[in-house]
Amino acid sequence: MGREVSESCVDSLLTEMVSSYCDRFYANKPDLAARRIEAIGFQVGLQLSERYTMERPRFSDHLEAIKFICKDFWSELFKKQIDNLKTNHRGTFVLQDNRFRWLARMSVDPSPENGDLSQDNPPAENKAAQATSMHLYFPCGIIRGALSNLGIPCAVTADISNLPACSFVVRIKA
C-alpha cells in the first residue's frame, strides 16, 4: 500500500476548488467554471492513468480499457469497483457507481424555505441541482483524462437521477 492521506483532505480540496471556480473566479459564468473544473479533472485522470498503466500491456480494444477504468482505476481512487457497466456496442458505455463517495455527503433540504408552504420553490431547487452538477465535472474530467491517456478520445457526462448512485456516460469519439 502506498502513501495515504485522510479522505477529508481530498474532499475538502475538491469542495473548495469547485466553490472557488463557481463562486469567485467565474461567479456569473457557470459554463466557464465547469470547463475549468473539468480540465483540472482531465489533468488528474491523465496523470493517474499514466502511473497505473506503466507496467501493463496495451489494451486490445475499447472494452478492455473501459474495464480497466471500472476495476483497477476505480479501486485505486475509491477502494471499490464500478458496480455496473452497460454498453450499446456502438461506442457508448454507462458506468454506474451505486454509492459514489464524492456525493455521499451531499444533501440539501428539499422542503420549501421557512413556511413558504403555499407555493413550490423551483428556483432554489434548480440552484441546488446546478450546484450538485458542478461537483460532477471533476470526476467526468478524470475519466476522460484517463481514457485519453489510453488513446481513447471521448466525451463523459454524469447522471445523478437516483442519488447516491451516479452513472457516468462515456461516448467514444469515432
Binding site: 502513501r3 495515504e4 485522510s6 477529508s8 480540496l13 469542495t15 469567485r24 493517474l48 485505486e76
Partner: protein, 186 residues
C-alpha cells in the same frame, strides 16, 4: 466525568477513512497549474491558494476538534503543539514540529520535513515567486481564526526553493473573545 484526554494523531489517522495520496497530490498540482493559467500572475495565485486554504481551515476545524477530543484552545502554545502533532498527522499522515518560540510565546515555527503536497513536484523557472504550498498556511490561519486566534502565517523555508525543510512562521496577532451579538434594544 473526568475530562477526556486528546487523542493522539496516530490513533486518529489510523481510524479515519484514508485515500491514496497520489490522488490528493496530483489534484492539488492540477489546481495550481490551472490557477497559473487562469490568473496569470504568480502573486495572485499565491493569494488565491491562501484564500482556498483559509476556507478549507474553516471547514476542517470542527472535524479536527470532534475527532481529537480537544476541549479547549485557549493557550496559544498548547494550540500550536496540537496542530503540529495531531492536526498534521490526522489529515496528512505526517508529523510537524514546533520550534523557535519567541520570548512572549506569541510567535513560533511549524516545521515540516515530509510533505505529501510536493511528492513528484518540480517547479519550472516560470514559477518564480510561487508559494506552491500556500494552501497550508491558509488552512492554519482559517482553523486558528475559528478558535478565536487571529494569526499571520508566513513561509520561512520551502523545499521547492532549495531549503532543507518547510517552515511556517505563525504569529498570534490577537485573541478574539466572543461578544454578545445582539443589541439590547433589538
Amino acid at each position: 466525568m473526568a475530562p477526556v484526554a486528546p487523542r493522539s494523531g496516530d490513533a486518529i489517522f489510523a481510524s479515519v477513512e484514508r485515500v491514496n495520496a497520489e490522488l490528493f497530490t496530483l489534484t492539488y498540482g492540477a489546481i495550481v497549474r490551472q490557477l497559473l493559467t487562469d490568473l496569470e500572475e504568480v502573486e495572485e495565485v499565491n493569494k488565491q491558494l491562501d484564500q482556498m486554504g483559509y476556507n478549507i481551515g474553516i471547514r476542517l476545524i470542527d472535524e479536527f476538534l470532534a475527532k481529537s477530543n480537544v476541549a479547549r484552545c485557549v493557550d496559544f502554545k498548547e494550540t500550536a503543539e496540537v496542530i503540529a502533532k495531531v492536526g498534521f498527522k490526522m489529515f496528512l499522515g505526517v508529523t510537524a514540529s514546533v520550534s523557535n518560540w519567541d520570548a512572549d510565546g506569541t510567535c513560533c515555527s511549524i516545521v515540516l520535513e515530509d510533505n505529501p503536497l510536493v511528492d513528484f513536484v518540480e517547479l519550472p523557472d516560470t514559477c518564480q515567486g510561487l508559494y506552491y504550498c500556500n494552501v497550508l498556511s491558509g488552512v492554519i490561519r482559517g482553523a486558528l481564526e475559528m478558535v478565536s486566534m487571529k494569526t499571520e502565517v508566513t513561509w520561512v523555508r520551502d523545499m521547492l526553493r532549495g531549503d532543507d525543510a518547510f517552515e511556517l512562521q505563525v504569529k498570534l496577532l490577537k485573541q478574539v473573545p466572543e461578544e454578545y451579538p445582539y443589541k439590547d434594544d433589538e
